[in-house]
Amino acid sequence: MEEAYWKYLEHMDSESFRQLMVTYGQDVWNLAFLMTKRHHLADDITQDVFLRAYKAIGTFRGASSIRTWLLSITRNISINYLRTAFVRKVMLTERLSVRETSPSAEKVVLAHALSDEIWEAVLRLPLKLREVLVLHVKYEMTTKEIADALRISEGTVKSRLARARRKMSISWKESAAYE
């Protein structure tokens, strides 16, 4: 479907809704996963993102691409999920139990599922750096688009991106040295 199609849509029919999910579903899921590091949360967030997009498509005016719009919603919903007391509690419990049993348990589970070791390094980044790096490199969003989505200045985006790259380069070199 052409980009302009979404711009002038007031209501989404079933076919458009399905098309939106087929085209951008995996992108949305991946971002939710990279933000939260949790499979089940990524499922829930993806569902919320598309339901919200379905309800709010009339407000999309094409200031950005539909993909960028969806990714912005994904990022915001992911942050909300991460900040809820429930998730914080679950994460804290998980962290404590991981610390108590085996320090590398979480790492082992993730390593099995990840397509490349580089993603381990990405997931080790602090959230603020991780989201900027992923949006810029994986989703090819410009610093301006990221600044708009995150509601921060372009300068902050650039600074976070530089820090993320520095950390990634160090981490990547270290893991290469072990091989």
């Binding site: 809704f17 579903g25 569902q47 339901l51 407000t59």
Partner: protein
């Protein structure tokens, strides 16, 4: 930032997980949810329609009963009114298109409904000089009748298309432009406001003096804002704005107030340091980051038991409930959304870090911060930056503990 693309960039273009995780089943599950949601929406609409029809029928029945019982008296009253307007000497017949004596005055805020104020020759010259014409007269009034959902879904404009935002003060006839870099505070507060959860239970009756004006390419929308209770008037009711909106508007309206100073300090701390310095390799001992022996959670509990000097309610879109910006101990502690700020040297960390210390002293006691902006040093506990020092002219101006998130 170096322009050379690192070799690992290409690897990040691919999928992070081995298996495809968004499948046909995922699509079906979401479609099912959408269908359930629509069904609920239709059921609610039908219910509202049924209630409306029943109410209308009841009113009609009561009217018919009243008319049949009071037929004679009503007839006399109607004929009296007729004679007043048409035959009584000296009476004034209302001209066509003008409201009668009991007509309700037009809504002066709604678009194109306002009538210009008649010229008052008794108005003083000073009044004429200070009272600028009200530009909000032709603004589109945001009127939300929904009872639930996020405001972003029902605003008559897209916040992405807002070119500028201003604050109109009707009392003194002045307009303040909200700086570009702060606009996100307002748009974010609007977008994430939950209509059901942010509603003010006992809203003030009078029209607020302040209006937030949203300037789009060809139109301006206005939302009245009540600074006394930090509430946005959306026509159908008043709704609490978030804490950052409260601070921003305090900063614009009353720049010397405690909350305004806090807003300015927090805003300044957002500006990244020129070298973007950050080092999370060394985490300080988390015991060293407690203030008076307490971390954020302990302080939160402690403050619950303390009497506050003032409280202004706000809606927190993250935890999705109404909470309060509270000042304790004559402004020595201010509690915001997930942030407790200490403004006085009475409070110190175990090593004695507190308000008034110099940067050098802090470095000696706590070491390098894990993150630094132009005026704020932050230290991490675990994955999160939770202890913050805000500097002014090289000295700690205030300290804060934030909820790990």
């Amino acid at each position: 930032m170096s322009d050379k693309t690192p070799d690992w960039y290409q690897k990040l273009k691919g999928e992070p997980l081995v298996e495809k995780t968004f499948t046909v089943d995922s699509i079906r599950r979401i479609e099912q949810k959408r269908a359930e949601w629509e069904k609920r929406g239709k059921a609610r609409t039908n219910h509202i329609r049924r209630v409306f029809v029943m109410c209308a029928a009841s009113i009609l029945l009561v009217l018919l009963l009243g008319i049949s019982l009071e037929h004679d008296r009503l007839g006399k009253w109607v004929s009296d009114i007729g004679s007043t307007w048409s035959t009584e000497p000296g009476s004034i017949t209302p001209p066509a298109g003008k409201p009668g004596p009991d007509a309700v005055p037009p809504d002066t805020i709604g678009p194109d409904t306002a009538e210009p104020e008649p010229f008052d020759p008794d108005q003083t010259e000073t009044d004429n000089q200070t009272q600028k014409p009200d530009p909000t007269q032709t603004d589109g009034r945001v009127h939300v009748k929904r009872m639930d959902g996020l405001l972003m879904e029902y605003l008559p404009f897209n916040t992405e298309e807002v070119q500028s935002i201003s604050l109109w003060n009707n009392r003194i006839g002045e307009e303040i432009i909200i700086p570009d870099e702060r606009e996100y505070v307002i748009t974010q507060a609007l977008n994430w406001l939950d209509i059901a959860k942010a509603r003010v239970e006992e809203a003030a009756g009078s029209e607020p003096d302040l209006k937030l004006r949203f300037h789009l390419k060809n139109h301006v929308y206005a939302i009245p804002y009540n600074p006394d209770n930090n509430a946005l008037d959306l026509g159908g009711g008043q709704y609490y704005a978030d804490d950052r909106t409260l601070l921003l508007i305090k900063s614009l309206m009353d720049p010397n107030s405690r909350l305004a100073v806090l807003d300015q300090t927090l805003e300044q701390a957002r500006v990244p340091a020129e070298d973007g310095s950050s080092d999370e390799s060394k985490l300080p001992d988390w015991e060293k980051l407690k203030i008076d022996g307490k971390d954020y959670n302990s302080w939160e509990m402690e403050l619950k038991g303390m009497a506050f000097d003032s409280e202004t309610l706000y809606y927190d879109s993250v935890i999705e409930r109404v909470d309060g910006v509270r000042e304790y101990g004559q402004g020595r502690i201010i509690q915001l959304s997930r942030l407790i700020v200490f403004l006085n040297s009475d409070y110190k960390t175990t090593d004695g870090v507190g308000v008034g210390l110099s940067e050098e002293e802090v470095l000696q006691l706590l070491g390098m911060p894990n993150h630094r902006t132009q005026t704020c040093w932050s230290y991490a506990t675990g994955d999160y930056l939770t202890f913050h020092l805000y500097f002014e002219a090289g000295f700690v101006k205030m300290m804060a503990l934030s909820q790990p998130a």
